[in-house]
Amino acid sequence: MASRVSEQHIDPWQLIAEHQAAHRQNGQFGAAASFIGTMRDFSERQNLSKMTLEHYPAMTGQYLEKLEQEAREQWPLQDCLIVHRVGDIYPGDAIVIIACWSAHRRAALDACNWLIEELKYRAPFWKQEFNPEGAHWVEENTNGHSSN
């Protein structure tokens, strides 16, 4: 499984394109759905200059694998990729990348949608935001149906 955390900056569209070129055979898949979460320079606080994403390494590794496996069990996916940034992140940087490939559209779309919600509410990552006033731990992800 290719799902993983990354300590390095990611170009999300290139990552997905390269994964597809390396792993998917042309003519075999009919649908690709993706979601990319990107750092904004504001949230409930303004002028964010940086964010640090802490995680629980042993647990996140296992958790991303489990998520990918559960998605593959629930939907007929041909491939699935989850990459989550950790470490220092700057405005405009990708935080999370999810891509799902399937024969027909519903599997890829529904799995992608499920994966981002699961990730938001269960995966052991924590955001600390920095702005001129200092460092601030984000207390919790806001409601699943309205938040970033």
Partner: protein
Amino acid sequence: MSIQVKFFASLREKIGKAEVELATASNAGDAWAQATDNAPRPDNVLVAINLDYAKFDSVVKDGDEVAFFPPVTGG
């Protein structure tokens, strides 16, 4: 053997410790009490035992890793 207790993110800063080793603990709540010197436990603290979400009354065995952390904010 022993029990490894870990704290993450804002909770690590509040408690002032990242890791504590305990000789023994009956359950996750007991591990919290010992590792924090009976600090009050915020309502929203989550616990994982051996990398899986657990409850505060979940049994802890010798060799287990018990982690406490605030609500997750990834994605």
